[in-house]
Amino acid sequence: MSKKFVKAILTNEIAKGGMKAIELNGNEIVVCNNEGKYYSVQRRCGHMNAPLDLGTLDGIYLTCPMHCAQFDITNGEALSGPVPPDISHEIMSPVIGKYMQNIGKLMEQVKTVSIQTFKTKVENGWVFIEI
């Protein structure tokens, strides 16, 4: 199926340095405003699917709110994986401790991959995204 640009969101709905999640033709997308230039990336993190719009955008770098994996919004490249948490001082029952150990082992197997980007353009105050 051929792709085409779809009207997505008004430019003035996203402040400079901000981002907003939208749904477009079934695609969950985060539109980012980096100094007036707009970029669109998939909403789900390339690590564990957390919603990236709840993270932080600093320049062209988007940090996931869940484990702090970082991505380049210009090309979707995964720049870093999850930051290991410190749970050594947490007081937890043996059952919860065992559970957390298992989660940790599973997480070691989770690969962080780059995220999808979408071609984006601005016309007449609207952001258009190629879907």
Partner: protein, 116 residues
């Protein structure tokens, strides 16, 4: 631990961006020795791939979270007096803003620094 096929150059660029924001207000800048800067950032990317955190490449990990967190780059705030005394951070990735020739700066341990 991070199964990630990071392009080292992209990550180095990102670390440079984030570190600049931190060290500038502290009175430091990246070393003007670009070869050294690239080498040290490369080592940090390798450490980050292994541990998930870009530790200082010149200091040992002690397997003690609270101590290891004090050598996460840029570690200047945790060693401010020492680094101000030698006008550089321990590995030399950062130097005082007024430093033009980092080769003239000695790498002295804290007990050998004469503090003004």
């Amino acid at each position: 631990m991070n199964q990630i096929s990071t392009n080292n150059d992209s990550r180095k660029k990102a670390l440079h961006y984030f570190f600049s924001k931190v060290v500038g207000p502290l009175g430091f800048k990246f070393t003007p020795d670009e070869e050294l800067m690239n080498f040290l950032l490369e080592q940090e990317v390798i450490l980050e791939k292994k541990h998930g955190i870009p530790y200082c490449p010149c200091q040992p990990l002690r397997n003690d979270r609270s101590r290891d967190m004090q050598i996460v780059c840029p570690c200047i705030p945790f060693h401010r007096k020492h680094f101000d005394g030698i006008k550089r951070c321990w590995c030399g990735l950062f130097v005082h803003k007024d430093v033009l020739d980092p080769d003239t700066l000695p790498q002295l341990p804290p007990e050998e620094v004469t503090y003004e």
